[in-house]
């Protein structure tokens, strides 16, 4: 902090300052807007009938008892709405040849996982809808289910018989092929005869993201647009995908993610439940709400991870790694989720971590099973890679009888070698692993702990001491767009921001990212307060509503600050440039003679100046603007990073 006690508030840097979060007042007092809070006139409630079988043919659905239950308004099956329900899409077919099963929101004739929706009940209350859902009689012919990843790879039992295979796609990154390193098989052969080869197989277990707020969707079809509130990380993507698959024009759909209670990747999905609620609202012409139970959330919300990792590491006798070969089997579950196929692929640039390997090959086979679908969860493909390579480095150290950190240092990129292009082809701009590790060792008391460990070993102490170390690096931001295009990803990686300078001097910032606990309202306010020199308290951050934020790619992959925050910076700079023209006119000065600091345009060498709030007011009443200037200093920016 460079601020002094008597400096004006706006002169104190906000970025880096500890601020109480703007979000907290409402969260602490229960004045929140969760999707499930919404009640609308005449609103109906949706309950799902879900399959108890992992794989079965639907032979008959009898909805007559449910239809005659009290206050039931509608019951429908997948077959009855097959033409209008739309389909769920994957935005990341990792190869052009990817096998992708058709994914109707409500199963039509076959279910592929336990928890899949087979019929929908709409009633006046949630309790009545659930009661009636229990009256829906579904006849199933159970089919063989494939549940194990390695069994799936054999293609004996098929998750989707119509595809003829469980294989979704095979994807490879080969350093020799792309020119970023040598041939890995040669390195392994060389190490087998004259070095060290370590072969291991690790399991990345399946897990459930388990956000605290269950997913909830409200559809209001009254009015000119259809409004969908959803507990989602990705309102913009939901709107686009609804428009793309249901035939409703994008301009007729408004999606709002209000307060969202956690996501962890689990809410970046476009879900059957959203499509079904949208459909129910449109069919009935009345507002409808669906809120899942926790059991439904655990069964049907996407899961994370689930890989087998087969690894072959080649090194010299001294421990310098000469090659790494990665063979993954990745479980997509029953369907290709929005970015499900791409998640394991993201590991391709991370298995080499912070190390210099001569050669590298990454192979992944994405497979379908009759389990809940799998998609992004916290780090999405990248922590899986870190886990594997860091365990391998420990194995190498054990083989050599060396300190695990020493082996890592032997292999990592030295600080003087940056910028460095890795064997996977990614350029790291900067780093100093020597300094960071030295500091970590000091903070941890590493040498003392090693000595204590040694003492306990020697004295055969009943309590032994284990020391774990790991390095971690991650590419984040999921951009630039041109690289995402090369990877067959359907969307871009840019982010958008608008800044509205209100007449009273207050500022509205509209961001295309969509927070769910991160505190964007606070951080974005700090960015804008610093850039424009306005008080932190005067900045309002608006988000998560496609009618307010018309351009955005939402929040996932650690992209919000690095991409969305930079868009805010650039929009603020455009505001300043527009304001400079007006300020020069107000001050009867040349733009070149103005300097902008702490929210004020001052004429160099004089006491004369105007604040940006005064410029905002002058632009609002627009009584005396320079020739050709539009009566607004609002600005927008869309930012697309150069590299990951």
């Amino acid at each position: 902090m460079t601020a002094t006690a008597d400096a004006p508030a706006t002169a104190r840097p906000e970025i880096g300052a500890s601020r109480r979060r703007k979000e907290d007042q409402r969260l602490l007092t229960g004045r929140t807007r969760w999707t499930d809070n919404i009640q609308l006139p005449g609103m109906l409630h949706v309950a799902m009938v879900r399959s108890p079988f992992a794989h079965a043919r639907i032979t008959n659905i009898d909805t007559s008892a449910a239809k005659s239950a009290p206050n039931v308004v509608s019951v429908f099956t997948g077959a009855e709405v097959a033409e209008e329900q739309g389909t769920l899409i994957t935005a990341w077919p990792v190869t052009p040849e990817q096998n992708t099963p058709n994914h109707p929101p409500i199963a039509v004739d076959r279910v592929a996982f336990a928890g899949e929706v087979v019929a929908v009940v709409v009633a006046r209350s949630a309790a009545e809808a659930r009661d009636a859902a229990e009256l829906v009689e579904v006849d199933y012919d159970e089919l063989p289910a494939v549940l194990d990843l390695k069994e799936a790879a054999k293609d004996e039992v098929l998750a989707h018989p119509d595809l003829g295979t469980n294989k979704s796609a095979f994807w490879q990154l080969d350093s020799a092929g792309q020119g970023s390193g040598g041939a890995v098989d040669e390195a392994i052969a060389e190490a087998r005869s004259n070095g060290i080869v370590i072969e291991r197989e690790y399991r990345q277990q399946r897990l459930v993201p388990a956000f605290m707020e269950p997913r909830s969707v409200v559809c209001d079809p009254t009015g000119e647009q259809i409004t969908l509130w959803t507990s989602s990380q990705v309102p913009h993507i939901v709107r686009f995908a609804l428009a793309a698959t249901t035939g409703v024009p994008e301009s007729k759909i408004r999606v709002i993610a209000p307060d969202v209670g956690g996501g962890f990747g689990g809410k970046l999905q476009t879900t059957p439940e959203e499509w079904i609620t949208f459909l129910a609202g449109r069919r009935l012409g009345r507002p409808v709400k669906y809120t899942e139970t926790r059991s439904e959330s655990l069964m049907a919300g996407h899961h994370g991870r689930d890989q087998w990792q087969k690894l072959t590491l080649a090194a010299t006798k001294e421990g310098r790694v000469t090659g790494l070969k990665v063979d993954l089997l990745a479980d997509l579950g029953s369907y290709a989720a929005i970015v499900g196929g791409g998640v394991p692929v993201l590991g391709a640039w991370m298995f080499n971590a912070i190390y210099k390997f001569d050669s590298y090959q990454f192979n992944v086979t994405n497979l379908y099973t009759n389990k809940t679908w799998v998609d992004a969860y916290r780090g999405a493909g990248r922590p899986e890679a870190t886990y594997a390579i860091e365990r391998l480095m420990d194995e190498l150290a054990a083989e050599l009888g060396k300190d695990p950190l020493e082996v890592r240092e032997m292999n990592w990129i030295k600080h003087e070698e940056f910028p460095f292009t890795t064997v996977a082809g990614m350029t790291y701009d900067s780093g100093n692993y020597e300094a960071a590790t030295a500091r970590a060792k000091e903070m941890f008391g590493y040498d003392e702990l090693k000595a204590e460990q040694q003492r306990r070993r020697e004295s055969n102490d009943g309590i032994q001491l284990g020391i774990g170390v790991s390095t971690f690096t991650e590419m984040c931001g999921l951009a630039p767009s041109r690289i995402l295009g090369q990877l067959n990803y359907a969307a871009g990686g840019w982010e958008h921001a608008d800044i509205r300078m209100l007449a009273t001097g207050k500022v509205e910032v509209i961001t295309g990212v969509s927070p769910h606990g991160q505190g964007h309202e606070t951080a974005w306010s700090q960015i804008v307060a610093d850039r424009l020199g306005v008080p932190f308290e005067d900045v309002e951050v608006l988000h998560g509503d496609t009618q307010i934020s018309h351009r955005g790619l939402d929040t996932y992959g650690s992209r919000s600050l690095v991409v969305g925050g930079e868009a805010v910076v650039r929009a603020a700079d455009k505001v300043i440039e527009k304001a400079r023209t007006v300020a020069a006119h107000m001050l009867e000065s040349s733009e070149d003679d103005l300097e902008f600091a702490n929210g004020r345009f001052g004429v160099r060498g004089t006491e004369q100046g105007v604040t940006i709030q005064e410029v905002a007011m002058a632009s609002f009443h627009a009584h005396d603007l320079p020739e050709g200037a539009e009566p607004s200093i609002d600005a927008s920016a869309t930012f697309d990073p150069d590299n990951f």
């Binding site: 300052a17 601020r19 007042q25 969260l27 229960g30 707020e213 209670g261 956690g262 606990g517």
Partner: protein
Amino acid sequence: MTRISVNVDGSSYTDEVEPRMLLVHYLRERLGKVGTVVGCDTSNCGACTVHLDGRSVKSCNVLAVQADGHEVKTIEGLADGDELHPVQKAFRECHALQCGYCTPGMIMQAVDLLQEKPDPSEEEIRHGLEGNLCRCTGYHNIVRAVQMAAGQEVTDVPTFEGSAS
């Protein structure tokens, strides 16, 4: 339908409810007290915690009819006007929340804990909050917030500009 009279956050309500209606649904759907939320429907997560006659209960595990003739306090009735309750204040000071979904239940449980044990040890705090799940914070700052609310010295939390207020 059964007629019940309940005092919630200082106001009296009389309603006809289905005997099976849960207290949390009565609060949210009939009274609009949506500050109290449902996380799991199974009494595992504690997000729906409120006070019944001054003691914490998980309102997804209490029938509305069981609250007949009793007093309920929710997160919305905890602050004194604009003045936050000391536990709410401490949660804010210690950055003890992120998405905030568990926060109402966590705070109501913490208030009950401090009524029972005004000067709890860290272990007693962790034990006292074991029925409340948080997915974002890792609990560390929540424990610190309860310590701060108890008037204990708390050092390893962020300090804010003007934290004294």
